[in-house]
C-alpha cells in the first residue's frame, strides 16, 4: 500500500473510482461536489478513460443508462438538486437491472436549498425517489479513507447484483481533507465481462434485450418478483455497519456518515460524564442494519438517532427497535452540522428524563 497523501473527500472519491475500474463518467457540476467532476475532467483523459460533461443532470443520467447497457463500469456524481433531476433515469436503470454507481454529496434542501452539508436525502436514496418497486444499494462513508475503500465495494456490488449503487456522502466529507492511502488500480480480470446480457454488437449471438418495460402486467409482475429475489439476497448478504463501544453501552446512538463520526467525540464526552454511550453506525443504509439495532434494544435503555435532517433514518431505527425502549431523535437541518457538545447536551436531556 502506498504512502498516505492529503486529499479532499471529493478528489479522493474520484481517484478511487478510477482505480476501481470506472471507465466512463458523465456528469454536471454542482456545489459541494464540483471538485469531483473537475478531478475527473483532468484525470480521465490522462489515463485513457472517457469523461463527458453533459448539458444537464437529465442528460447525464440517460448517458449512464446507455453506457451501463454495455456492462462498462460507469458512474456519475452530483448533489441533492442534481440527484432529484436524475430520478427518472435512476428508476429506469434499476428497472433494467443495470450496474452503475451514483454519488450524492448531499447539501441542505429542500428545493435549491444551500451548499452546506446535510443528510436530508435519506428518504430519496433509500425509499425510492424515482417511481416503481425498486431498490438501490445505498452506502454511506464516515471518513475519507472509508469513502475511498467504498468506491471499490460500490462497483463490485453493482456488478454482482446488476443493480445501481448509491453512495450518500455530504458536503463536509466532500470538502474536508484527510490523509488517505489509495489502493492500486484493479486489474481488468477483476471486472465481470457480462457477456451474457451486455449490448456490444449482436454479431452471431442470440439477441440481448434490456428494458424496464412490459405492457403485460403478468410479465411485469414477474420482472418485479425477480428483482425482489435479488433484493432479498442483498439484504441477506450485504448489510454493513460499525459498532463502537457497544459492549457496555446503556445508550445506543445510531447515526451514519459524518454524523456517525462526530458522535464518537460526543460519546467520549458522555462517558467522561458517566453516561455509557455507544454507537451503531449504519454503513449500508439499504440494506439497513436492522438486526444489530434490534439486538441492541434488548440490552440498552435508549436508542437515540442523530441526523443532519429533521429525522429520516430514525423511522428505520424505530421499526427495528419496535417500541422496546425510548427512541429519541436529535437533528439539525438546512446545512447546519450538529457539534459534539450540542449532541451531548441533547443526550443529557433525554437521559435525565429517562433515569
Amino acid at each position: 500500500m502506498a504512502e498516505k497523501i492529503l486529499l479532499k473527500g471529493n478528489e479522493a472519491m474520484a481517484e478511487a473510482a478510477l482505480r476501481a475500474g470506472c471507465q466512463v463518467y458523465f456528469g454536471y457540476p454542482i456545489t459541494p461536489q464540483s471538485e469531483l467532476i473537475e478531478y475527473m475532467a483532468k484525470r480521465m483523459p490522462e489515463i485513457g478513460r472517457t469523461f463527458l460533461q453533459a448539458e444537464s443532470e437529465v442528460a447525464a443520467v440517460n448517458m449512464i443508462y446507455g453506457a451501463a447497457c454495455t456492462g462498462t463500469r460507469v458512474m456519475t456524481s452530483t448533489s441533492s438538486p442534481g440527484f432529484s433531476l436524475m430520478m427518472e433515469g435512476v428508476s429506469y436503470i434499476a428497472g433494467a437491472n443495470l450496474p452503475a454507481v451514483f454519488i450524492n454529496v448531499v447539501r441542505g434542501g429542500p428545493g435549491l436549498g444551500d451548499i452546506q452539508p446535510a443528510q436530508s436525502d435519506y428518504f430519496q436514496g433509500t425509499k425510492g425517489g424515482g417511481h416503481g418497486d425498486y431498490r438501490l444499494i445505498v452506502l454511506s462513508p464516515a471518513t475519507i479513507q472509508e469513502a475511498v475503500n467504498m468506491m471499490f465495494d460500490a462497483f463490485d456490488l453493482a456488478d454482482r447484483y446488476r443493480n445501481p449503487v448509491l453512495i450518500i456522502a455530504d458536503g463536509l466529507l466532500g470538502q474536508m481533507m484527510e490523509p488517505v492511502e489509495l489502493p492500486d488500480f484493479i486489474t481488468p480480470d477483476r471486472i465481470p465481462n457480462h457477456e451474457g446480457w451486455a449490448l456490444r454488437g449482436k454479431g452471431s449471438r442470440e439477441q440481448h434485450t434490456i428494458t424496464s418495460f412490459d405492457l403485460d402486467p403478468v410479465k411485469l409482475e414477474e420482472m418485479n418478483l425477480k428483482n425482489y429475489e435479488t433484493y432479498q439476497k442483498i439484504q441477506e448478504n450485504e448489510v454493513r455497519y460499525e459498532e463502537y463501544l457497544m459492549d457496555d453501552a446503556e445508550v445506543a446512538f445510531v447515526a451514519y456518515g459524518t454524523m456517525g463520526r462526530i458522535l464518537k467525540t460526543t460519546i467520549r464526552l458522555a462517558r467522561e460524564a458517566g453516561i455509557k454511550a455507544g454507537l451503531i453506525r449504519p454503513i449500508s443504509l439499504w440494506p439497513f442494519p436492522e438486526k444489530p439495532i434490534r439486538e441492541a434494544a434488548e440490552k440498552v435503555k435508549m436508542v437515540m438517532s442523530v441526523e443532519m435532517s429533521m429525522g429520516q433514518m430514525v423511522e428505520d431505527v424505530r421499526l427495528a427497535v419496535s417500541g422496546k425502549v425510548p427512541t429519541p431523535f436529535y437533528g439539525r437541518t438546512g446545512g447546519i452540522v450538529p457539534t459534539p457538545t450540542e449532541v451531548f447536551e441533547a443526550l443529557k436531556r433525554e437521559w435525565e428524563a429517562l433515569v
Binding site: 492529503l6 470538502q175 463520526r261 458522535l263 464518537k264 467525540t265 460526543t266 457539534t339 459534539p340
Partner: protein, 186 residues
C-alpha cells in the same frame, strides 16, 4: 519551551479571505501527516469565502479522530477582529489564542486562556512581502504549541510551494522562522 507537548490540538484559523488562512491550515495538516499523526482539515466553504471572514478547522491527534467539527477548540488563530469576536469565547479553558496584532487593535477579554500576540504584517513587510504574514503566524503557532516540528512545516511548505512557485519558497521559510522568533519570551 519546556511545557509538556500535548499532541491533541483542535485549532480554528480565521481571518479575511485573502489572508491565507486556508494555507496555514493545509500546511499544518500536511506537516502533521508527515509526522504520521491523525489529522483532519475542514474549510468554511459557504458564502463566507466570498469577501467576509474565512476559517478552517484542523484537528490533530495520535489516535483516530472522531469529530472534525469543533465547537470548543483548544486553540484559535485570529487574523482579524471579526475572528476574535467570533471565536475567543469558544476556546477551551487553558487553551491558546494567537492574535495577529497588525490587524487586531483590541484586547481579548478572557483571563482563563493563554494569549500570544504577533505583528505578522510588520514582520512580513520586513521580510519583503505582506503576503507571507500567514507563514509568520504559522511559525509562531508551531513555536507556541510544538504540535509538529518546524522542520515538518518546512518540508510541507517545500512540497506545497516549492513545486509550483520555487522563487517564493525562501521568503516563506524566512517568515516561518521569524514567526517562531517573535513569540520567544511571550
Amino acid at each position: 519551551m519546556n511545557r509538556p507537548v500535548q499532541k491533541y490540538h483542535s485549532t480554528i484559523i480565521s481571518g479575511f479571505g485573502g489572508q491565507g488562512v486556508m494555507l496555514i491550515g493545509q500546511t499544518l495538516t500536511s506537516a502533521a501527516m508527515m509526522e504520521k499523526l491523525y489529522v483532519t482539515w475542514i474549510p468554511s466553504y459557504g458564502p463566507e469565502m466570498r469577501g467576509g471572514t474565512a476559517n478552517c478547522t484542523v484537528v490533530i491527534d495520535e489516535t483516530p479522530i472522531g469529530s472534525p467539527v469543533i465547537d470548543r477548540p483548544t486553540d484559535v488563530i485570529a487574523m482579524n477582529i471579526p475572528s476574535l469576536l467570533k471565536f475567543e469565547k469558544t476556546i477551551l479553558p487553558g487553551g491558546t489564542l494567537l492574535l495577529n496584532t497588525s490587524v487586531i487593535d483590541r484586547e481579548p477579554t478572557r483571563a482563563d486562556i493563554r494569549v500570544y500576540r504577533v505583528n505578522a504584517g510588520e514582520i512580513a513587510g520586513k521580510i519583503g512581502s505582506d503576503k507571507v504574514a500567514n507563514m509568520v503566524i504559522l511559525g509562531a503557532f508551531v513555536g507556541i504549541t510544538r504540535v509538529v516540528s518546524l522542520e515538518s512545516v518546512r518540508l510541507a511548505l517545500e512540497k506545497k510551494i516549492g513545486e509550483k512557485r520555487p522563487e517564493l519558497l525562501a521568503m516563506n521559510l524566512q517568515a516561518l522562522k521569524a514567526g517562531e522568533n517573535a513569540i520567544a519570551g511571550q
